[in-house]
Amino acid sequence: MLRVENLTKVYPNGTQALKNVSFEVKDGEFLAVIGLSGSGKSTLLRCINRLIEPTSGKIYWNDQDVTAASAGEMRKIRRQIGMVFQQFNLVKRSSVLSNVLTGRLGYVNTFSSSLHLFSSEDWKRAAASLEQVGLADKAQVRADSLSGGQQQRVGIARALMQDPKLILADEPVASLDPVLAHSILKYLEQLNKERGITVLCSLHFLDLVHRYATSAIALKGGELVFQGLPKQIDDAQFKAIYGQEAERVSII
């Protein structure tokens, strides 16, 4: 279970990205985080695995205080939390397989991994992860030779290597063609339903939220303005989250 209490983030330049945000995610949920660009969605997700240091507030992951964790503890926490990025964040010049194997770095010792030595179990796990996202035949090619949708699937395979209990997905489909959005989100849904992995996913399109999420929160200017079920977001809620000018659009 993930619990966020009074989370606040102020950047050195004075921007207040998160204001006193509190919410809870139960195990096995698919939580959508919605809000306009710049509303603090990315900051929120990155505070959870402390890629960004929160200014104040607490984050509890299975009752362990993430904000107080030491470097060694943080390594153990991070390896349980997979992350998928908007820009995929693959090492473009490395092979697909090599990128997937990086997902195992939190588990293996520093010395042997520095020499690119992995156990045969890890190699099998990498092959299985690629199999899961349907890219088994692309293992040896360079990451930048894949299409955007394929690169994001490699990103998911990398997260799977961590054997994660939670996946943070930061706008995973925003850089992709709308038609590919469903294919990526279906993989996340499958992991959520079949393996019981909790998913926190920021999304732009409301119809994707309705289709995939089991619950939702909304941020506006760094504040939590909605918490509930996706279907509870009616027109009035919608205007409150996105502003009076906004119009609903749908993809596909």
Partner: protein
């Protein structure tokens, strides 16, 4: 037998592949459809065999005597390479990849041992002659700028003396003697002299016939600036029409244009492969020694370099507007005028400015062979052992080049910035025209001044020297007999290894500094920001001095020969590689670092998996690029005593043996063009 009958394909294949790689390295890989890998292994083995044999026969490198049998111990790493190659082929057969590092290491041992010996590296000299080095560095830090006259004796007044002088002056004590700018300094900057009145002043009635007038007479540094400027202007003007002939998308529209295209490209490539300084040697036969020869040499090389850049720019323009203008019924000339020229003007200007920067650097050393400019001044002063005088010239060069570098970079930046230009619909205001007129007149005056200063003489241009016909004839019928070709090839190998070793040394030295000069790694605290600026400044200062000017310093330290030349190249490589590496580090994509971090990886793992894969390929690519540049530079460092093919070339030119000089030039063209091609292909494969 029966067993192999059951599984026939793999084992026969295995034997076949092992055997073919054993008799010919790379053949097994080639047969397994890894054509490139096979070819590279084959070439590496072939070149190694040649080099080991050559270095044993000609230089006694690696010589060992085994029971009366003389051989080279360098065959040992080659045998190891051979074994590695067989194992690699067998691994490929099982679709595994074999570690390439053992193979690379074997070849590296062979190459570095030979490089170390042929470039005559004598580390003991660096230590033994350390006092000489200290003398040089003391002289370099105390340039001859101010002269003090003590009791009628003129002395150089360097820092210490100036300090005493200023102290005395401030304290009101009597000073040691009057000071003035030294003759040396005035020779570099310029001085006001009494000279007989020029005829035009007499005609205008400004001066009496036969009388003297005070005139500013420019120094060698100003002359150098003028040479660089004139060469840039001339080469830009000539390169524009040439570039259209070498642009494929233009020439393919004209009948017979493709032939002209290949011809133009070929000529540009050959001309470019010959360094400016080598052109200087050829040009002086035509117009004689002097700054004009320097301007022509700079112009010839620049036309080739700019012609290539310009034509590539033309080939990469947006075809949309061309299509649209053609569709209106415009002819070729109109299409060029309205669809192509507006697209290429900014980048042409930017390339010319870049070339101005390069020409200024070359202009500082062209005087080594062609006469004129600060290079000629340096040769003269060093010949007389005037290292303090040389130091003044060096500092003048540093200041001018750093300035030119800065102006050229800023100017290029403002040209290439995509600013929507204001379209003037109303009549221009009067003062605008006035300002324009002012700039035009100023430009014209500068042009005329530089024209005179750089000694341009159309008369000399159209009256080739008496030997020039002989030179052209001899260059066509070059001497390819083995007693010429053998020493030339030998010196060429030395030259290539000089470049190779210099690149390695420069890179090793540059690696730590490149991290200090990367803005994304430093600049967080005030101290590290200072380190960043200090490292950048040092790299820029070192980079502003041409290799030939460094050679002059190093021959004083380690003596004339390839070692001095190699060290000079290592310093210039250090400066350029440091800059390129730090830029590669600055261009790292932060995304993968974040992603690897998020998996729980620690710092070292993040570096190995997210940082190194991003910087190693550009680093290797820059190393190959630097080696390519260094081979060009190594062909000329011999002119100042740096050894290698340059020495051979000047000797042949000096003794008027043009048919042999032609062989050398041809050899340089072939090697440089091959390296250029190979390095471009390799770098393409890496990035």
């Amino acid at each position: 037998m029966n067993e192999s009958g059951n599984t026939p394909a793999p084992s026969t294949n295995s034997i076949l592949i092992t055997f073919s790689s054993l008799i010919l390295p790379g053949l097994g890989q080639f047969l397994l459809k890894k054509r490139q890998r096979g070819l590279v292994i084959f070439l590496a083995a072939l070149i190694s065999v040649y080099l080991i044999d050559w270095s044993l026969v000609h230089q006694n490198i690696g010589k060992v005597t085994l029971g009366g049998w003389v051989t080279s111990w360098l065959w040992l790493p080659l045998i190891l390479f051979w074994i590695w190659n067989v194992m690699d082929a067998r691994a490929l057969l099982e679709a595994r990849t074999f570690n390439i590092f053992p193979g690379l290491a074997c070849i590296a041992v062979i190459l570095y041992v030979i490089a170390w010996n042929v470039t005559d590296v004598k580390l003991n000299r660096l230590v033994e002659r350390f006092n000489d080095a200290r003398t040089v560095s003391t002289n370099l830090l105390n340039p001859d700028v101010i002269t003090i006259s003590i009791n009628g004796n003129d002395k150089i007044c360097a820092w210490e003396c100036m300090f005493t002088y200023v102290n005395d002056k401030l304290a009101g004590h009597p000073v040691q003697g009057p000071i003035r700018w030294s003759d040396n300094f005035l020779a570099i900057i310029g001085t006001i002299k009494d000279i007989p009145a020029p005829s035009w002043e007499v005609k205008l009635g400004l001066a009496q016939p036969g009388s003297n007038v005070k005139t500013f007479s420019s120094g060698t540094m100003l002359q150098t600036i003028a040479m660089g400027l004139m060469a840039t202007i001339f080469s830009t003007i000539i390169a524009i029409p040439v570039s259209f002939l070498a642009a494929h998308n233009i020439m393919s529209r004209v009948r017979g244009g493709t032939i002209i295209y290949y011809l133009a490209r070929g000529i540009l490539n050959i001309v470019r492969a010959v360094d400016t300084i080598v052109w200087g040697l050829i040009v002086i036969v035509w117009v004689g020694l002097g700054s004009f020869a320097g301007v022509i040499a700079l112009t010839i090389h620049s036309v080739a370099a700019l012609g290539k850049l310009f034509s590539e720019e033309i080939e990469h323009i947006d075809p949309g507007p061309v299509e649209a203008v053609t569709a209106t019924g415009a002819n070729l000339i109109q299409t060029i005028r309205y669809a192509i020229i507006p697209q290429i003007t900014p980048s042409f200007l930017a390339y010319s400015l870049l070339r101005w920067d390069i020409n200024m650097r070359s202009a500082t050393v062209i005087g080594f062979v062609a006469g004129g400019g600060i290079g000629f001044f340096v040769v003269e002063t060093v010949r007389m052992g005037g290292y303090q005088q040389y130091a003044t010239a060096l500092w003048a060069v540093v200041i001018v080049i750093v300035l030119v570098d800065y102006i050229s970079a800023k100017w290029r930046e403002s040209i290439l910035k995509d600013q929507p230009q204001k379209v003037q619909t109303a009549k221009r205001p009067f003062f605008n025209n006035l300002r324009l007129a002012f700039y035009v007149i100023l430009g014209a005056l500068v042009f005329i001044y530089c024209w005179n200063l750089s000694g341009i003489s159309l008369k000399d241009l159209f009256n080739p020297g008496s030997n020039f016909g002989q030179l052209v004839k001899d260059f066509v019928t070059i001497d390819l007999s083995s007693d010429v070709l053998k020493p030339v090839i030998q010196q060429m190998i030395v030259t290539i290894f000089q470049a190779f070793l210099a690149t390695t040394l420069g890179a090793i030295a540059a690696l730590p500094f490149s991290f200090l000069a990367a803005k994304n790694l430093t600049g967080r605290s005030r101290l590290s920001a200072w380190i960043y600026y200090a490292t950048r400044a040092m790299l820029n200062l070192l980079r502003s001095i041409e290799a030939l000017l460094y050679v002059v310093i190093f021959i004083f330290w380690v003596g004339i020969g390839p070692f001095a030349g190699m060290l000079a190249l290592a310093v210039t490589s250090f400066a350029l590689i440091g800059k390129l590496f730090s830029e590669a580090i600055e261009n790292i994509d932060a995304g993968p670092i974040e992603a690897v971090n998020a998996t729980g990886a620690n710092r070292l793992q993040t570096i190995v998996y997210a940082v190194l894969p991003q910087i190693v390929p550009p680093f290797v690519s820059y190393l190959i690029y630097q080696w390519d540049i260094n081979i060009r530079m190594a062909t000329i460092i011999g002119f100042a005593g740096g050894g290698g093919i340059g020495l051979t070339l000047t000797t042949f030119f000096g003794s008027l043996e043009y048919h042999k000089a032609g062989t050398v030039v041809a050899c340089i063209v072939i090697v440089v063009a091959l390296m250029d091609f190979a390095s471009a292909r390799l770098r393409q494969a890496l990035i």
